[in-house]
């Protein structure tokens, strides 16, 4: 009986974990449907007014800063150009900023 009870506890733990996972998934699904994403949660409201110039500024400045990063990803591939033209954007897009 003792071993059975310990297995019961293990099954209980599995069920609780499954419930929590489903809860997280459902909450994420609800938030995603309502347009709430990690990027919208992480960006400050004030930044949204100055956000637009930043990419432009970064577009102007990035080549010097980002050329090293582009080669680090794909050394000499010119097909990366669409990304290098807006080199900061992929990085920002990756992290959602």
């Amino acid at each position: 009986m003792k071993q059975m009870r310990s297995r019961f506890r293990l099954i209980t733990l599995l069920l609780v974990c499954a419930f929590l996972v489903v809860l997280v998934l459902c909450t994420g699904s609800v938030l995603k449907t309502n347009g709430v994403t990690i990027s919208s949660l992480s960006s400050l409201p004030a930044v949204s007014g100055t956000a637009s110039p930043e990419p432009a500024a970064d577009v102007e400045t990035p080549p010097a800063g980002d050329v090293p990063s582009a080669p680090s990803v794909i050394p000499s591939d010119e097909t990366v150009f669409p990304e290098t033209d807006s080199t900061p954007n992929p990085e920002y897009n990756i992290f959602g900023l």
């Binding site: 009986m1 059975m4 019961f8 099954i11 069920l15």
Partner: protein
């Protein structure tokens, strides 16, 4: 300590009654429907009576009874804003479920893991499952009732006769479910059987062949039987989410009611995802309480049966939530006690009653132990 417990319980009961009253009083005042006024008065009284008088009289678990009453109340409340007549019909169905719960609680006292019990319940369960195959005109949904009986037989065989006979019964039920085309029920039943065999026996030499047999049966069903995938979910999550956090009035387009048997989408549409999410969360304490009752049981039969009931309720709730939120393309899954199908409600009430009765028996055993300890002093 007992006084503090009883006063806390009284406050909780009073708060529950007030909330139940308000859930029906608000739409009643808005619409002026006498049926809703009647329910606003009757429902809290019934909840109070069931949770105090009936539970005490038949030694039922108070927490499990309260949780089931809340789930039933949520199911009744789902119809209140849109269709008061359907609200009354659902209230009567939930009343039948509570009678079945009480019957289950009484029956478990006299139920023993004898060969006669196993044979009778196994025969009835398999007959109910095979009924649709023998008589295709029969449309009454008796799957859950059959599985409830089979669970009792399975627990009796597993605790007394051993895992082999129990697995034979489990496999027979699985074959019938697969032949009937109820894939989701078959998956839930096989999961419950495997977990129970693991819990009761635990030996790899038993669990692994059981797993192999289950996989073989599923493979055979997909290969030999006519193509029968999982039924698709007709309503998408986006429709559900259109109700918002606090519900929408009128209901957004796309909500499948009143013909739908599942009440959860209607509850979400009427009261929003917040309340429906909190209602779905009630299954977590229900599962925890069920498994703790199983762990506290004195006999193997009661322990396996209690765990089987908890697994049935928990797995069904999880699968229904996953399908409602669109993570699995399944249909036909309903949250326990949030369904308008009378046979399913009664079957779920019955197995919950078994759980309540086992809990009551645990308390009686503990009281007897305390009494014996006192006498020994």
């Amino acid at each position: 300590m007992n006084r503090q417990k009883s006063s806390a319980r009284f406050r909780f009961t009073a708060a529950s009654m007030l909330l139940a009253c308000l859930i029906f009083l608000v739409p009643a005042l808005r619409d002026g429907n006498p049926t809703l006024f009647l329910l606003a008065a009757l429902l809290p009284c019934v909840m109070f009576l069931c949770d105090t008088v009936v539970a005490r009289m038949f030694s039922l678990d108070r927490m499990i009874t309260a949780l089931i009453l809340w789930l039933c109340a949520a199911g009744i409340a789902a119809y209140a804003p849109s269709d008061p007549d359907a609200t009354l019909a659902q209230a009567l169905r939930c009343g039948s479920a509570l009678i079945a719960l009480t019957a289950g609680g009484i029956m478990i006292r006299s139920l023993s893991p004898s060969l006669l019990t196993s044979a009778c319940t196994a025969f009835l369960g398999l007959l109910l499952l095979a009924g649709k195959l023998l008589s295709p005109a029969m449309s009454l949904p008796l799957t859950e009732a059959a599985l409830a009986l089979l669970l009792i037989a399975f627990a009796a065989l597993l605790s007394r006769q051993g895992p082999v006979s129990a697995l034979v019964l489990g496999a027979a039920a699985l074959v019938l479910l697969l032949v009937r085309g109820e894939m989701t029920e078959a998956v839930l039943w096989s999961l419950a059987v495997l977990l129970l065999v693991y819990a009761a026996d635990g030996r790899a030499v038993v669990v692994l062949p059981a797993l192999a047999v289950v996989l073989l049966l599923f493979f055979g069903a997909f290969t030999l039987l006519p193509v029968q995938g999982f039924p698709q979910n007709p309503s998408s999550f986006s429709v559900l989410a259109s109700a918002g956090a606090v519900g929408a009035d009128p209901l957004p387009e796309g909500f499948a009611w009143p013909d739908s048997v599942s009440i959860f989408p209607l509850l979400a549409g009427s009261y929003g995802l917040l309340l429906s999410g909190m209602t779905a969360l009630l299954f977590l304490p229900l599962t925890l309480r069920g498994t703790s009752v199983a762990a506290s049981a004195r006999t193997r039969f009661h322990a396996v049966l209690a765990m089987g009931v908890s697994l049935q309720l928990a797995l069904r709730a999880l699968a229904a939530l996953i399908s409602v939120f669109g993570f699995l393309p399944l249909s036909g899954l309903r949250l326990p006690f949030l369904t308008s199908s009378l046979p399913d409600l009664c079957a779920q009430g019955f197995i919950a009653g078994l759980l309540c009765g086992i809990s009551g028996r645990n308390d009686a055993d503990l009281a007897e132990d305390a009494h014996l300890a006192m006498l020994a002093k």
